[in-house]
Symmetry: C2
Subunit: 424 residues, 2 copies
Amino acid sequence: MSHPNDPKLKSFIDVDSTSDFPIQNLPYGVFSTPDSVQRRVGVAIGDFVLDLAVLESEGLLKTGAERCAFAKPSLNAFMALGPKAWSSVRAQISEVLRHDSATLRDNAGLRKRALLPRKDVQLHMPFAVAGYTDFYSSKEHATNVGIMFRGKDNALQPNWLHIPIAYNGRASTVVVSGTPIVRPQGQLKPPSAEVPSFGPCKRLDFELEMGVVVGGASQMGTRLSEAQANEMIFGFVLLNDWSARDIQQWEYVPLGPFQAKAFGTSISPWVVTREALEPFRVQGPKQDPQPLPYLQQASANNYDLHLEVDLRAAKAKQAATISRTNFKYMYWSSVQQLVHHASSGCAMNVGDLLGSGTISGPEKDQRGSLLEISWNGAEPIELPGGEKRTFFEDGDSLIIRGWCQGDGYRVGFGDVEGTVMPST
Amino acid sequence: MSHPNDPKLKSFIDVDSTSDFPIQNLPYGVFSTPDSVQRRVGVAIGDFVLDLAVLESEGLLKTGAERCAFAKPSLNAFMALGPKAWSSVRAQISEVLRHDSATLRDNAGLRKRALLPRKDVQLHMPFAVAGYTDFYSSKEHATNVGIMFRGKDNALQPNWLHIPIAYNGRASTVVVSGTPIVRPQGQLKPPSAEVPSFGPCKRLDFELEMGVVVGGASQMGTRLSEAQANEMIFGFVLLNDWSARDIQQWEYVPLGPFQAKAFGTSISPWVVTREALEPFRVQGPKQDPQPLPYLQQASANNYDLHLEVDLRAAKAKQAATISRTNFKYMYWSSVQQLVHHASSGCAMNVGDLLGSGTISGPEKDQRGSLLEISWNGAEPIELPGGEKRTFFEDGDSLIIRGWCQGDGYRVGFGDVEGTVMPST
C-alpha cells in the first residue's frame, strides 16, 4: 500500500490537475446539506465532499476511539485523538478513494449517500476556535510597516529578530469564508484632528496570512520542544486578518491592537493537514542573529506554498490579482511560533488558531496588505475597470487562494472570500 | 416577600456579621466533594455550600429551562438562561434559606444532602472562560506606570482619557484560587544587556483586579448600549493578573503584552452576582474630557467595594497586608468596558471574562501591584518578619480579599490566593 502522499496515486473520482483537492490532499471541513442540516465532518476530493460520518457509521473508518468522531459540528473531537489517529484515518480515506478500491467505487447506494457534489453543500467553521493568536513573522511585512511609520533606519523593532512577536486576537469573530464583514466603527483620530470621533473605519484593510490549527494540548507550566510543537500541528488554513488601520493607529499604544482586529477574521473552510504538506517542506530564510536555543530548529519547517490575492471591486464583474507571494518567505516558522507561545508555561489547547502574520515577499507585487500595496494610501491601486483603491470600499470582496504545486497535481486550500458590508 | 437584597433578611443558618456569605449575597461557584466527584453548581451561605443540583432535582428550584442547569461543571448553562432567570433563581434560593422557611430547615435528610460544610468541598473554576480580556482602567495605576517609564510630563498616553484601553489575554490559563503559579521563563533583556537571554522571570508581580463575568452574548457586527451591557453582566470575581515585568518590558512593543501575561491569571471561586452588588453602586470619578457619546453613562456603574492584598513570604507564618484600596476608584466602569469591547462589532459570548485592570487608589498604600508598591524595585517593602520584597520570591503567596460593607453584614468574595512555584 503506498503512502497517501504518493504522487502516483489516482482516485476513481476524476480530479483535474489544477484542482485543489486531489487524492494527495484530503483536507477536512465541516458541512451540511439542505436535506440534512446536521453538521458533520467531510473531506474534499475533486468536485465532491466525502461524508466521513457516513463512512464511520458504516464501519469503514476506524479512529480507535469508542465514540464517533465525525458526526460532530467541529473537527475538535477528531483532532483530540492525536497524530497517530490523524495519520491512520487519512490512510483509510486514501485507501477508500483509490481507483483500484472497490468498497465505495462499486457500491452505488453508498456512493450516493457518502459522496456529495461540493456545489450542493454548505461549508461551516471547520473547528471551534479555543484561542486565536496572531503573529507578526514576515520580515518584509514588519520592515515595510516600520519604514512607513518610523523611517528606514528604525524599521525593525529591536526585539523583532529575537522573538516571534504576537498578540492574542479575538476568537469570537473568527468566521468561515463567505461570511460578510461589516465595516467596523470605532474611535478615529487622524493626525490633523484635535480630538477623536466615533464613526465608520475609513482605512479598512486585509492581511494575507496562513493559520495553524493546533490539534494537541500542553499543560500550564510546561514548555514545548520543536518536535512536540510540530506533532501538535494538525493542519493549516488560509486566513484573512481584517484590520481597521485608523482604529489601530489611535488605540494600539501601549497594549497593542484591540478593536482594530476584533470585528472579523476569515478562514478557509478546508483544513489541509500537516501530513499532506510534508512533500512541500522547505528551509526558511537564514535567521541572523541565531535564535536563542529554545527557538533553534533541526528541521525545515517552512512550506513552499503559493498564495494569490484577488480584489473584486463592488461593481466590477472580474476580480484583479493584487498580490502573488509564498508562505516560504516567513522568517519565523509555525513551529517556532508554537514553541514560543508555550515558552512561559502558557497552556495550549485543541482548537487553538495561530495566524502567521501578514505574508509579504521581497518584491513589490508580493505584499500582503493594502497598507503596503498602496504604501499607506500614497500609491492607489488601479483596477482593470479603471477604479482605484487605497483601502476597501463597501461591497468590495477580497479572495485569497493558496496551493502547493506537485508534479501534475496541486495540494490546495480552495479559497477564503469575504465581502465588506456597510457599517450598521 | 422581601427582595433578596433586603438587609433585614436572616437565614436559619447562622452567619457571622463579618462573613462574606450572608443571605444577602448568595454567590455561585462550582464544587465537588470526596464522596461525589461530579462537579456541580453551589451557592455559599455562611460556612456552608448549598448544592443547587440537589435542589433542582428535588423540584425546589425552577429555572424555566427544560434541561437541568446546575448538575454541570460550569455556570455557563445557567448564565445562558439570561437575567430574568438569574433573578428568579436567586429569589428562590433566598426563599429556601430564610429563617422562617421550613422546606429545607425542617427536612434533616434534605439538609444533609443539600447543605455541605464549606471546609469539606473542593472548589473549581466556576465557569468556562470563553474569552479573557484585560483592561487598563485605573487612572492612578496608568499614571504611576507612566511616571516610572516615561516621566511625569508624559505619564498618560494621549488615548487613555478617551478609550478604555485593553488587550486580549489568554483564556487557557485562567485558574481558580489555590492553583500554584509556576514562575515563567522567557526572554529577558535588562537595559544593561546587549542581547536577550532565556531564563526564569526575575520581576514576577501581581495585579489586583476585579473580573466581570459576562453572562450574555452579542452578535458579530452589532454594538451594545449602556443598558444592554449592564444586563449582560452576570457577576464579578476577584482577579490576580500575574505579570512578568521583565518579559513584558522586552516583548511588548509594538503589539502589547503576550507571554508576560500568559502563564496564569487567578480568580476567586465565587461569582458574586451583579444583583447582590446593586445596593453598593456608586458614581465613578468625574470623567474629563467627557467621553464620546457611545461611552456616556446615565447610571452609576461603579461599586463601593473594599479590597485588601496580603503577601505571605515563603518562610513567614503570617501574611502582611500590603495594599488597601477600593474598586470605586476605577476611571472606566465595567459597563463602559463592555460597551467599548463590542463597539467594533466584536461578538461577546457567555463566559467572557473582563479584567478591570490593576486597581490603584490615590494614596501610596492603595497601589495594586508590586511594580507600583516598590516603585519599580527602588523602594523594597519591609515585611513583618524583617524580610524585604521588591518582586516575588519562590514560595511567596499573594492573597486578595474583597467585600462590600452593608449595615451589619458584608457581601464578600472570599479570597483568591496563589503561591509561586520555582521554574521547571
